[in-house]
Amino acid sequence: MNLDLLPQLLLAGVVIGSIYALAALGFVLIYKSSRVINFAHGQVIATGAFIAFALTQSGMNFWLAGLLAMLATFALGMLIERVFLRRMVGEPIISVIMVTIGLASVVDGLLHLTPYGAGNFSFTTPAALSGAGIDLLGTQLSRVQLAGVLAALALLGGFTYFFNRSTMGITMRAVADDQMAAMSVGTSVERVFALAWAFAGLTAAAAGVILGLMSGLTLTGLAGIGLKVFPVVILGGLDSVLGAIVGGILIGVLENLAAGYLDGLVPGGGTRDVFPFIVLLIVLLLRPYGLFGTKEIERV
């Protein structure tokens, strides 16, 4: 085993892991307030990334395009909630989840109709991020990677603060806990859901743009992140922002370690896609509610 590779693999793992965490955040936001598992999350990530890409193609500044894409998916999240999810309030959760699966197919189909449906695209790296990176632990960290990590951590930190300290954040958790009791003090459950979907959309676009900047844009790749967040959120606990961060980074690091050390041992390689799921299985056997998830309180 070549230990010289270790710092580099760890660092790359933390970088990609923090983006996974950001991608998972939107998932957690929706689950946390409404207990709905959103299978269309990957499609929202892809939509956000391609909106930003289309805008830069038309000559817009990268940062402005990213910001507008986030606003667009904020609105998209709200729209999805309004049109599809609101009429499902009170229906069994499994029906609502089926709706999100249907939605995933529809959005996927629509994206295939755009010029970006097939092929590889890449952002032109903005000037501020194209200079030399920094040396860390003897390895190079590019400016793009650095900016991606910082943006992801800032959003994650912001939402952690929001959930723990702001009245609206606390109310969103309260709705997840007991909708009827939340309504009894005047909470508009509809508004809480709309906000959760909107925030999920916003963070999805951010994750999509950062991923696109780092490793290029393909529809299947970006939409596939929607599935990659499953081990992340289940590992961390479906309803915990902190869990999403730890789960994301853990999965990112495990992937890179597997690619660095295990791929050579297996004919055909590809262990990076399998290894996280093996860890996931083990964690679930030991802690079914995830590393940081809410343990059900059983008491009458």
Binding site: T167, I170, R173, D178, M180, A181, S184, V185, V300
Partner: protein, 278 residues
């Protein structure tokens, strides 16, 4: 004392209107009729109790007032609810809370996974006051909650949860508080403590209270006026003092005869027993 007498302790703050339920009929799933023309008045600044057995329609009456019928597939088919001149029966739950009527749900329903302080803050979602000041106010009424403020609410006792549920509702600055069975599953000592607290808040803030109870003794001891429900109708009403002395109420709800002996349900005259299932 008769029904027309004013409350013994008129509230200090600005007076606000009575809450009136006028001839309300409620159906669930458009089929099951639970309320058959209920009329009652919660006078400003008074504690009013609504008594009755299981299934009499007490909780439904509260839901009809607070606008929380819809999540249970219930609907007001006839009649109106109004508060201080405003009609509540056509409003949604949020609007009802905004107009100053807040319900403490049956079974307390605290947010189990949130800590005590977060539970209280969730009650301040409509932002009708500064939440920091309101927290202090609630902690003055229920000092126990202050010491427990970082404890997860699911791990507090039943009595503490009831105080928390009341505190959470008070964070929304109600002018009328609707309490659904605060005595449920609590030891008699705690029940008395909770009713004394409610009485104190009622006096100090001039808050009107409508309390639904099966425990008629304690409810009548801490209220000004009372209604008795049976089979979706009000069957009796009067000043609490008068009600607790009424032979029928004594026999059915307080379980004692005119001579003060406790009596078994078996001994109740059969025509009266029928009346109970009406």
């Amino acid at each position: 004392m008769t029904a027309t007498h004013p409350a013994p302790n008129p509230p200090a703050p600005a007076p606000h209107g009575d809450l009136t339920v006028n001839n309300v009929e409620v159906v669930y799933h458009d089929i099951v009729q639970v309320l058959r023309g209920v009329s009652l008045t919660v006078r400003a600044g008074q504690v009013t109790s609504l008594l009755g057995t299981n299934g009499a329609g007490k909780t439904t009456t509260l839901r009809a007032i607070s606008g929380l019928l819809k999540p249970e597939n219930g609907r007001i088919r006839e009649g109106t609810v109004s508060f201080g001149g405003r009609t509540l029966s056509s409003l949604g739950g949020t609007e009802v809370v905004k107009s100053g009527v807040v319900q403490v749900p049956e079974g307390r329903r605290v947010f189990k996974h949130l800590n005590v302080e977060e539970n209280l803050r969730a009650g301040a979602i409509l932002g009708r006051g500064r939440w920091r000041d309101d927290l202090e106010r609630i902690y003055t009424y229920f000092p126990k909650l202050r010491t427990l403020r970082h404890r997860q609410a699911g791990y507090t006792s039943g009595g503490e949860q009831q105080m928390l549920a009341i505190g959470r509702a008070l964070m929304a600055h109600p002018r009328v508080l609707l309490l659904d069975e605060p005595s449920l599953g609590l030891a008699p000592m705690l029940v008395a403590e909770i009713f004394e607290n409610v009485r104190r808040i009622n006096r100090e803030e001039g808050l009107s209270v409508l309390v639904v109870e099966q425990n008629a003794t304690v409810a009548l001891a801490h209220s000004d006026y009372g209604y008795v429900m049976e089979g979706g109708r009000i069957v009796m009403e009067g000043e609490s003092d008068w009600l607790s002395g009424n032979p029928d109420v004594k026999e059915f709800y307080l379980g004692v005869t005119e001579h003060g002996q406790r009596k078994s349900f078996r001994d109740v005259k059969s025509y009266k027993r029928r009346k109970r299932w009406m």
